[in-house]
Amino acid sequence: MLVGFIQSLKLAFGGYGLGLLIGIGGACGKLYGGPILRDLMEIYTTLIRAIPELVLMLLLYYAGTDALSQLLALAGYGSVDINALTAGIFVIGVVQGAYATEVFRGAIKAVPAGQIEAGRAYGMSPMKVLTRVTLPAMLPYALPGLANLWMVATKDTALLAVIGFSELTLVTRQAAGSTKAYMLFFLAAGAIYLAWTLVSSLVIRFIEKRATRGLVRTA
């Protein structure tokens, strides 16, 4: 069960991290990209958010990994077996990326235009403006949404049980099935997810506090 939990953690961290990267890229694409890039991003976020996650997981897992290994084979790497963890991270990352794109896009738009203008006025390149001003300034606006996404990422790991990935939920089901102690094992799994969430919210609160240091609290 511990192994399953660690696998779940890896999935969540990996998928979430990948999702954040895709999200930042996607948001920048939507806001600053040309018309074609913007349309592509729109299609990506609309599709991913419209289709039920379970369907997406199955689709991305089977079709996605298949396409990827064929691609690798074509590129001359021979037949490569993509390991389940990588595939799982990929699946979660792509799904999370769509939601993260929207979170970042909204947060970037919430940054007062004058802050960005000041960056330009002092000679920052567009990249400098992004890394020194836009991204750090949008963080407080993005955090509530990102915190939500982290919780979703946590729960999404359990969906990967259906594709036979040995994460916490699947391991629990197997253990419960073989010992017939369903109640015990599922309660234990529930407790682990709960503890995970509690620890997460502590960490999130800490990060939020740091990121909003510059804002006057209106609460």
Binding site: G114, A121, Y122, G123, A137, L139, R213, G214
Partner: protein
């Protein structure tokens, strides 16, 4: 073009927003040490003019030179201009410090971080050196005690003084002020004007858009009156305020008192 004593030279600057022509051909030279006050009614194009100098707005036609170096522009193919060399624009911007009406301090940085940001991350000044300079500047504007405070926790007057310290930190070739006191409560205007007044008396080159006529008369050595995107009248402050020639300027001056 232009000797080294020319800080900013603007030649026949035009700017249009769509079908609205906001600047209709403005030429102006600021020599080093000049304090030029730019006055004019709302919508006359004062901000647009200032923002064209550091290319926050792209002029439709005309040239801008800073210290004899002309900013290279090329056609954008739609009747407008775009910078031919982004690096040149960034380099020139980094030495033309702008002070905004709404301060525009970076909210996620402390006062000190705001002041060292451009020196360290744009000009490449070593951090400890930038901090030493910044602390001296903050002392000068009376904000040394507030150096580790975030801008949102400061009064408007304090924020604007911090913004002036940020501007001074890049050792500007010229400073561009766009109504630096217009967003302030009346009781906070004085502290900001006194800092700007000191800079003017030090003969720092500056273009100052302002509605503070008394102050403009006091600190400037040249006044430009903009009307409808054109320079309607210009001259020494005593002439502009004491003996205005054009009817529009007379009306403008009497309306403001």
């Amino acid at each position: 073009m232009g000797g080294p004593e020319q800080a900013i030279q603007v030649t026949d600057l035009h700017k249009r927003f769509g079908s609205l022509e906001v600047l209709k051909g403005i030429s102006l030279t600021a020599r080093q040490g000049d304090v030029i006050a730019i006055i004019g009614g709302s919508g006359s194009g004062k901000s647009t003019f200032l923002r064209c100098i550091n290319l926050l707005e792209l002029p439709t036609a005309g040239t801008v030179s800073v210290h004899g170096e002309t900013i290279e522009m090329k056609s954008d193919g739609h009747g407008g201009l775009i910078p031919a060399n982004r690096r040149q624009v960034q380099r020139i911007r980094s030495r033309l410090a702008m002070v905004f009406q709404s301060f525009n301090l970076w909210q996620h940085m402390t006062v000190l971080q705001n002041v060292i940001e451009a020196p360290v991350h744009v000009l490449g000044v070593p951090k400890d050196q930038a901090i030493a300079t910044a602390e001296a500047l903050l002392k000068r504007v009376g904000l040394f005690e507030k150096r580790d405070v975030y801008p949102a926790f400061l009064s408007g007057g304090q924020q604007q003084r911090a913004a002036i310290a940020r501007a001074l930190a890049v050792q500007p070739l010229a400073m561009l002020f766009d109504e630096p006191t217009s967003a302030l409560d009346p009781e906070l205007v004085g502290e900001v004007l006194s800092v700007i007044g000191d800079l003017a008396r030090e003969k720092r080159t500056m273009l100052l858009v302002t509605h503070e006529m008394k102050f403009a008369r006091e600190v400037s050595n040249h006044v430009v009156f903009l009307h409808n995107g054109l320079i309607e009248e210009q001259g020494p402050p005593d002439e502009i305020f004491g003996a205005p020639k054009s009817e529009r300027l007379k009306k403008f001056i009497s309306s403001i008192h």
